[in-house]
Subunit: 454 residues, 2 copies
């Protein structure tokens, strides 16, 4: 946090504690809603939060409300009168209302819907029907629509009349009588055109669109690719049903990256910030994969017990090194491919290009590692483990090479197959990869050791 | 890729091959620059690309150029006449020009600078001086500035006159004579105000700003927090020197997430998409950590050799399981904390809160895993490894508990210390964590085994 912000927070605390509410309001008016919400949640007790929220200038209340965490929102709603609740809801954009409703318990949802305008309630219910990860769940039906035959001047009139409550006014959508999207025109186009120009002549008649059921990750990729500030959402008939703004896409990109990182580290994804998670929810997110990986490690124990009597203790000492190297190498490939799939660089049909690339990279990596491994064992490990023979050293280096190449192949193929089977590459590939690579590299090691050394 | 896009690409290929250039141009005019660039790079040979680029409608050329990969840009520039190069450069925003210059070899940079307007050249050179990861390197000096005493009507006149070449016109910046930023006003504010209103009365006089040397990751976080479409960049004196638009922030968020994921998987970050990377550059990115981790694995070998004569083969079979569980548990904590630092949820001063949380979570996780581990060994592993005693089973379960708790602590503390030392948490923490946790859990196992079983 910046020093400036810390001073501001101290001032707020001081005003609040000494009940200088006029000063408090003046200070708040100059602040961003996100900062006010952060102050409220990090510096005040629950009872104080409720009192503080009532002190907020009216025009800020719903903006601050949106920025608070789900728990705080629920606590606040419980203290609201119906009138207060209605005021906050009426002031929010519909997509924000829907986001909040999705996180609330049933009785709170009922109260929110009861206190919405009938027309809004209908739209909210429609939005709630879209799957959680679809474009429909991100969009808001509050956009500016124009008709193709309007002049620029009339378009500006319409923007001025209806713009106040729209999430963005900078991209306007041109629809026909059947609500089919026929074009897009930006306020920049309008400002740089003449007053008498007809919208049809200045609009972009082939706008990029998304469909209601499109995956929200794909939507975010479109924003990243085309640099728009809003994208229109159409249904199967081509009717414009809503828009998605870039700030929602930014959130999706952040959240999806966090989720993928969590999955790769064998954690069930959580949307809550780390410090707000309870110990119990941390336990819940981490225990499943720990248990699963503990159980699958039975394979490695079985292999080691199976070869036990026939493998010298000298060779046992290199098991962690071999498994570690194979695991690291496989992890590099699987994580690279998982991320490439997530950002849209790689699809299933690229599988042979990917394999060919990993085969070549794996060959040279394996060769390099095998040579370094040979040198390390011969010149370094012999210092504390003097019984190693040159044949054993060569064997270990060869196993390094083979298991690294194997790990690269397993690591790159698994995520692509997972994607093809409509499973989540990040969930399936990382832990499965570890188990397969661990077991395979151990089998390669033990069986080669027996063939060559006995 | 969507079917629609594939059909479009086929049409382009057909028009290009049968030399129907008028049709080709008509089709291109309806397409987004990013899609044209993608078609060019994925479907045409280098020589064809150059010919294709010359066929592009003039107004699209520089937009398509920006969207192509560095290699393609370099190849294209080499075939440009000075006049063509100047046309493309003049049409680009300065921040894009700077991005391209940063990737080009010296002789190409010279040609670009030679063919820029003298005024642009000066600004380009200033922008080039900002560090690669700073706000200054992201910004463009092309923004709309207004003065506080203007009327709304005059502001619109100014936007109409100067807006064409600005990267965004929707946020306008109010500066005084010394170029100090005094406020921000959006086109929405202007459209909803009266013509005679004075800018000073409708502007936001306390805008959120970033400083030229601020880390670009922090800048991206501000976009994500405040939902702006542009942020003003000020220098130490408070003068407005440029703006950063949300599309650049989106790219930073994507790239930083990819980089963090690569670092966590022990890969040196690369900005190129996977399929465009050469085998050699993949080798380069992966070999350093593989070698380092190979060398540090010497510790585990040393420990195993050191305890060799005193540890029964029955217990050896559980080494991979114990090291694996500790590694997974440590990875969960370190990755969680690394990501929390990256998105701004956790700072160094939260270290005791983090440790306390991980201690409690680690205690319950360790307890659960120890119980499951005990059951697994006693009921499952004894099937193929019948010599295990109940004392050994209890020992292994106890080591599971202790090393898991230890792994959680190491995993959460390391990234925070790395951050405090101004090192990159993702680079330092992940591989170092593995090495420390592997060695410690092995030492705990072997020494407890000796104390208890002998």
């Amino acid at each position: 946090m910046s020093e400036e912000m810390e001073m501001l927070y101290e001032k707020l605390t001081h005003c609040f504690e000494t009940r200088k509410f006029a000063d408090l309001r003046m200070t708040l008016l100059d602040m961003e809603p996100a900062d006010i919400a952060q102050f409220m949640e990090n510096n005040l007790e629950e009872k104080e939060q409720i009192m503080f929220f009532r002190l907020l200038p009216k025009e800020l209340a719903s903006d601050v409300f949106i920025e608070t965490e789900t728990d705080t929102q629920e606590a606040l709603i419980k203290t609201f009168t119906d009138k207060e609740l209605k005021a906050v809801i009426d002031d929010m954009f519909l997509d924000d209302t829907v986001d909040i409703i999705e996180e609330m318990p049933a009785n709170v949802v009922k109260r929110i819907l009861k206190n919405s305008d009938p027309e809004n309630r209908k739209q909210i219910n429609e939005l709630l029907e879209y799957p959680d990860d679809s474009a429909g769940s991100l969009m808001t039906p509050e956009f500016i629509s124009l008709s193709a035959s309007m002049t620029v001047e009339r378009a500006f009139d319409k923007i001025r009349q209806t713009g106040l409550n729209k999430e963005t006014i900078y991209t306007c959508y041109v629809t026909n009588r059947k609500k089919i999207l026929v074009g897009v025109v930006t306020v920049k186009d309008l400002l740089l055109a003449n007053k008498e120009d007809i919208i049809e002549n200045i609009m972009d008649a082939n706008p990029i669109t998304v469909e209601t059921l499109e995956d929200k990750e794909q939507v975010a990729q479109k924003f990243s690719k085309y640099d728009f500030i809003a994208l229109p959402v159409i249904d199967k008939e081509g009717c414009l049903v809503g828009i998605i703004t870039v700030d929602d896409a930014v959130d999706v990109i952040q959240e999806e990256a966090t989720e993928d990182i969590q999955k790769m580290a064998a954690i069930l994804p959580s949307e809550k910030p780390y410090l707000k998670q309870s110990v119990w929810s941390i336990w819940m997110g981490r225990i499943p994969w720990l248990v699963l990986l503990l159980v699958t490690s039975t394979f490695t124990s079985m292999i080691l017990v199976g070869y036990e009597s026939r493998l010298s203790p000298v060779l046992y000492a290199f098991v962690p090194m071999l498994m570690g190297t194979a695991g690291n190498a496989g992890g590099q490939s699987s994580v690279t491919v998982i991320r490439a799939i997530a950002v849209g660089d790689v699809e299933f049909r690229d599988i042979f290009r990917v394999i060919w690339k990993e085969l070549r990279a794996g060959f040279f990596l394996g060769l390099t590692i095998a040579i370094i491994c040979f040198a390390k064992i011969w010149f370094l490990d012999r210092l504390y483990n003097p019984d190693i023979t040159i044949l054993e050293t060569a064997l270990i280096s060869a196993v390094c090479f083979i298991s690294l190449l194997m790990a690269k192949l397993v690591g790159c193929i698994l995520p692509l197959i997972a994607k093809k089977c409509r499973l989540d590459p990040a969930v399936v590939a990382s832990p499965l990869m570890t188990t397969i690579v661990d077991a395979l590299s151990l089998i390669i090691y033990c069986s080669l050791a027996i063939v060559i050394l006995i």
